[in-house]
Symmetry: C2
Subunit: 333 residues, 2 copies
């Protein structure tokens, strides 16, 4: 993929909703080859210029392994399609290096949804490049929306740094937790409860009583914290994807979240998300440019040793670094 | 303060425990004059080389205005002194620009403690320089410990970014909250509950029942989260500084936290805190060096506008920035 016309053709095919084109576009975005990176940028530029800010919905779903994400996604996704939506699901697996996704895995995980015409499932690899998971997945959201998928669900597995990143990519971030007794409490990962816009206690069919008790505990806990979004009270519901308990509650909390009054607010949040993400990427890029100088990197490593052992304060060490390094910035505009 | 001998003399006086010297050293650390910055670095170097890693205790206390921090600090500080400790209190006020501190204010806030020979109170200004509050306050901790204050208490007012920074500066971070009824819940600031090593419900004298109810709510909430430190269960106690209720509980949770088995762990945590802080300072310094070029800053600002309006993705904008800017790093070792 090299010439502009090929990129434009791909953009046209994506806009027409071609699944094959969406797959191809996502592969381009995931690629680290320099010419592909350029093509991906050009493609995104075209798609963004075309795409009006529509009423798309970006939903994040996270939860520990075994919490029942797949079953919930399958039911929830089909329910959304029944309500007239087109649904793209982007599972992000930070432990997986493979691109293109494990199609068989998703066929097993979401048997009906993975075959459905109005659904598109594509695992998002976690690239160890600048921007990592977020850059790839956020760009993938843009492609899916351009192809007419009005609902994009980003699924994360609840380990690593990826959850708070995922929360920053979506409008509505749902946390799935299992019913817990007082004894088997594992404790949520740091920071995750505070970015959750909704909490779903799964597997209520196993014990409705345990689900309700857990629901009460989380309800009480979220009331102690500031809401994840202004004018929004984090709902805590229980649900079972196997016996349909509470699926209606999940659907209606989603509808409530995306009511039209919130549309403007959502656009503002997305704007802030983009700026924050750009800011973060610039910082990473600049720091990595500096540390790419082996002598400088060595000098910084030595200062880290001094700081670690407590012989030099961090502020002194930084002043030494900045005195010992000359950063020249030239614009090549 | 210019010559090495003067800095050495000041270091000697600090080490001897002179309150006047500690005050002078802290003023030096707070100063932004270039020659003072150099002297402060030299002073810290000397103090750090001398100071063996002793059994000092760094305690953070935070809470919203009106929660009763002053009353609690007064009683808690006197109690520590009665147990044979020497206590330095560093109130950090991010809204205050003045240096040297409002001595009168602290005399009113902590009448007995502010006059006590074994106590030292010095408000830490929030400098708008690289590293901000953290750099100044962390260096101030080093000076106070060098002067023989084995317990340093960093007090923050529970607004702004300062709490999580404060939590990263201390060993034990205590969150003070007021008794709450179900109706008047304000919600804790994001992230703060998860870095709290202990939660103290204040003003239990107003209503012991409300204090106990609030205690139960927070106990339940912290059990849903991962502990702030490995092998540590965040205690939730209620206390009143006016009728001495629960002060014993606060003292014994502090003793429990600092039991000798945890000493090694605390040193490791401090080491990680120093490295994380150095890393953060280096990032800020490098980014600010790049953005000090007006043309580059302008170019980045333009990209931010494009990103904000959604016409360019953050990843594309960053690639443009890095292509348009040449960062040359030269070592001057």
């Amino acid at each position: 993929m090299a010439t502009t016309s090929l990129v434009e053709q791909l953009a046209d095919e994506v806009s027409s909703g071609s699944r094959r084109a969406v797959s191809q576009a996502l592969s381009l975005i995931e690629s680290t080859k320099p010419q592909d990176v350029d093509s991906a940028d050009a493609l995104l530029d075209i798609l963004l210029l075309r795409q009006a800010p529509t009423n798309t919905r970006r939903i994040g779903i996270t939860g520990a392994p075994g919490v029942g994400k797949s079953t919930m996604l399958e039911r929830f996704g089909l329910e959304l399609i029944n309500s007239g939506h087109r649904v793209a699901i982007l599972p992000v697996d930070p432990s997986s290096k493979k691109t293109g996704g494990s199609i068989l895995g998703d066929k097993v995980r979401m048997p009906q949804l993975s075959l459905h015409n109005e659904a598109f499932i594509r695992p998002s690899p976690s690239k160890a490049t600048m921007g990592g998971t977020t850059a790839t997945t956020s760009d993938a959201i843009v492609v899916c929306e351009a192809a007419g998928f009005d609902t994009v669900i980003v699924e994360t597995v609840g380990v690593g740094q990826s959850e708070t990143e995922a929360a920053d990519m979506v409008d509505l971030f749902m946390l799935l937790v299992m019913p817990q007794s007082g004894d088997d409490m594992q404790g949520m990962k740091r920071g995750i409860m505070e970015v959750a816009d909704a909490i779903v206690i799964t597997k209520s069919d196993l014990s409705l009583e345990a689900a309700r008790r857990t629901q009460a505990m989380y309800t009480s806990a979220v009331r102690l914290m500031q809401p994840s979004k202004p004018q929004w009270e984090t709902p805590v519901v229980h649900a079972s994807a196997t016996v349909d308990d509470g699926l209606h509650d999940v659907m209606s909390l989603v509808e409530k979240f995306f009511v039209s009054e919130r549309a403007a607010a959502i656009n503002n949040v997305r704007k802030e998300q983009r700026i924050a993400w750009f800011d973060d990427l610039v910082r990473r890029a600049v720091v990595s440019a500096v540390r790419n100088n082996p002598t400088v990197d060595q000098f910084i490593a030595e200062q880290i040793d001094l700081v670690a052992s407590g012989r030099v304060t961090p502020s002194t060490a930084v002043q030494r670094c900045m005195r010992s390094v000359s950063i020249t910035v030239k614009e090549q505009l």
